[in-house]
């Protein structure tokens, strides 16, 4: 299946517990591709799935516990990249069992630039707050 650039929509990112400090504080690791990811940050398109499905699919597929779901808009990714003067593309990347899968492509970025984009995305997502499980009243993402 082809990877089409996405123009808009909310992208769901599952946050692994290692991306949280023990105090619950969110770190930029949540938006940093792992070494094996080759610079591609996995997300789900909200318009093709639900927040709950995205969360549980992650836990089921990767046999890992997710700390929660955060979200950034495609336009926010573009804006952050523009401000950081880097090229970041958001591409649809449907995979077997997950047609909503997409990637934030940072493969062309150096380690340094990737770091900065991750911090920017973390900041944006944290301001939006936890999308799933729903935040309790008064609960905020700690940054």
């Amino acid at each position: 299946m082809s990877r089409e650039p996405l123009k808009n929509g909310l992208l769901l990112r599952q946050v692994h517990p290692i991306a949280l400090e023990r105090s619950g504080r969110l770190t930029s690791t949540a938006f940093t591709p792992k070494k094996g990811d080759e610079g591609e940050l996995s997300v789900d398109q909200e318009e093709l799935t639900t927040r709950a499905d995205s969360f549980h699919r992650f836990e089921q597929n990767f046999k890992k516990r997710a700390a929660g779901t955060l979200g950034v808009l495609v336009s926010e990714c573009d804006e952050a990249a523009k401000r950081l003067q880097v090229s970041v593309q958001v591409l649809a990347d449907p995979v077997p069992g997950n047609s909503a899968h997409a990637i934030i492509d940072m493969a062309s970025l150096s380690r340094r630039k990737t770091e900065k984009v991750a911090k920017a995305l973390k900041f944006i997502a944290a301001e939006r707050g936890w999308l799933y499980p729903p935040e309790m009243p008064g609960e905020k993402v700690i940054t």
Binding site: H16, I18, A19, L20, E21, R22, S23, R25, T27, S28, T29, T32, P33, K34, K35, D37, A80, R83, L84, R111, R112, E115, K116, K119, A120, K122, F123, I124, T143
Partner: protein, 360 residues
């Protein structure tokens, strides 16, 4: 004030009865200098000031009074030009201190408490031949102490031992170096006590009180700064301090290294440098977690949106400060051979960019 201060008796095969050899004359001047030096140490210790009052040392002068006594050669020394109001009892105290330290040296009972006085006292008897000795009779006591070449050697050997870096128990190493102030500081976290020590020409003076304080505290010592000696930067890896690592920090590090997401070898490799940043009290306390590659990562945050982080990766150590709102950024990349001091300095620069107003 003037008056008898001490009587010194010289004896040995080379000392004819009633005559004072040149060696003995030279030792009179050494004795005066030793008392001056020890008095200065006592004054600084009591006043907690570095700078001595004007003309402090020159105000104390000894002169030979009376004739050279028969038997062996004995000379009576008296204080002249002694300014009682300014000097107080410091010179008498100094003589008592010298007397006691020499007595302990002869009994081979020198201890770390004597360390401050050994440098000047080691000059006494340093030029004596084996058959030459000096007896010191201070005015303040009817006892005397003998100084021989053996006494001088014992003092010198003990001083040499004291100057070896003390290896007590492994907790952490001394990392930060303050080239200007010849001091190091240790924060005893939880005990809410800040102590300062002194590093003097190769000797890290870790006093018994300091060790006790570390033990009484929450269990770990954080070294803020230490100076270099005259011969350059101290090889800090040889200096360790007594105490226990900060429990939550150490536990967190072990937890991360042992977690299934960690690259254990990479995380383990970064332990030393991570500790250096955590224990450097001139830096704010960082958060610690695993990077996407499974290595240790540290992050500092502030009131504003700035994030400062240091990641320990396979090839490099990477520091970054980013303001996600304005996208102002700065970063550094260094190899693993970087010294803890240099790494701390680079982190400090990023923190300042991020608005941290901590210690310079």
């Amino acid at each position: 004030m003037t008056g008898d201060f001490v009587k010194l008796w010289f004896s040995g095969e080379s000392v004819p009865a009633g005559q004072l050899p040149v060696t003995a004359v030279r030792e009179l001047a050494v004795y005066q200098d030793v008392i001056r030096e020890v008095a200065a140490i006592l004054w600084r210790r009591k006043s907690n000031k570095k700078r001595l009052p004007p003309h402090f040392k020159k105000a104390f002068n000894l002169a030979i009074t009376g004739a050279i006594e028969e038997g062996s050669a004995g000379v009576q020394l008296a204080c002249i030009n002694f300014q009682e109001d300014m000097l107080g009892g410091h010179f008498d105290d100094a003589q008592t201190t010298v007397f006691e330290v020499l007595r302990r040296a002869n009994l081979e009972q020198l201890s770390a408490n004597d360390a401050d006085y050994l440098e000047p006292i080691s000059k006494l008897g340093a030029k004596f031949s084996d058959d030459f000795s000096m007896r010191i009779h201070p005015r303040s006591t009817d006892k005397h102490v003998r100084v021989t070449s053996h006494t001088s050697r014992r003092v010198g050997q003990f001083l040499k031992e004291m100057r070896k870096p003390r290896e007590v128990d492994v907790v952490g190493q001394v990392f930060a170096v303050d080239r200007k102030h010849c001091t190091f500081g240790i924060d005893v976290v939880g005990g809410a006590r800040r102590l300062k020590g002194r590093y003097d020409r190769g000797l890290l003076r870790v006093t018994d009180n300091l060790l006790e304080a570390i033990q009484e505290g929450a269990g770990y010592a954080r070294v803020s700064a230490m100076q270099t000696g005259q011969d350059g930067e101290l090889n800090a890896s040889h200096v360790v301090l007594l105490g226990q690592p900060k429990p939550d920090f150490e536990a967190r590090m072990v937890e991360l290294i042992q977690s299934e997401d960690a690259d254990a070898a990479l995380a383990d490799k970064s332990r030393k440098l991570v500790r250096s940043l955590v224990w450097d009290s001139s830096l704010p306390h960082p958060y610690m977690y695993l990077s996407a590659d499974g290595g240790l990562r540290m992050e500092w945050t502030f009131e504003g949106p700035w994030d400062v982080s240091v990641g320990f990766e396979h090839d490099v150590i990477f520091g970054d400060a980013t303001n996600p709102k304005t996208c102002e950024t700065d970063d550094f990349e260094v190899g693993w051979e970087v010294s803890p001091t240099d790494l701390a300095e680079k982190v400090r620069l990023l923190l300042r960019l991020a608005g941290w107003k901590g210690r310079a």
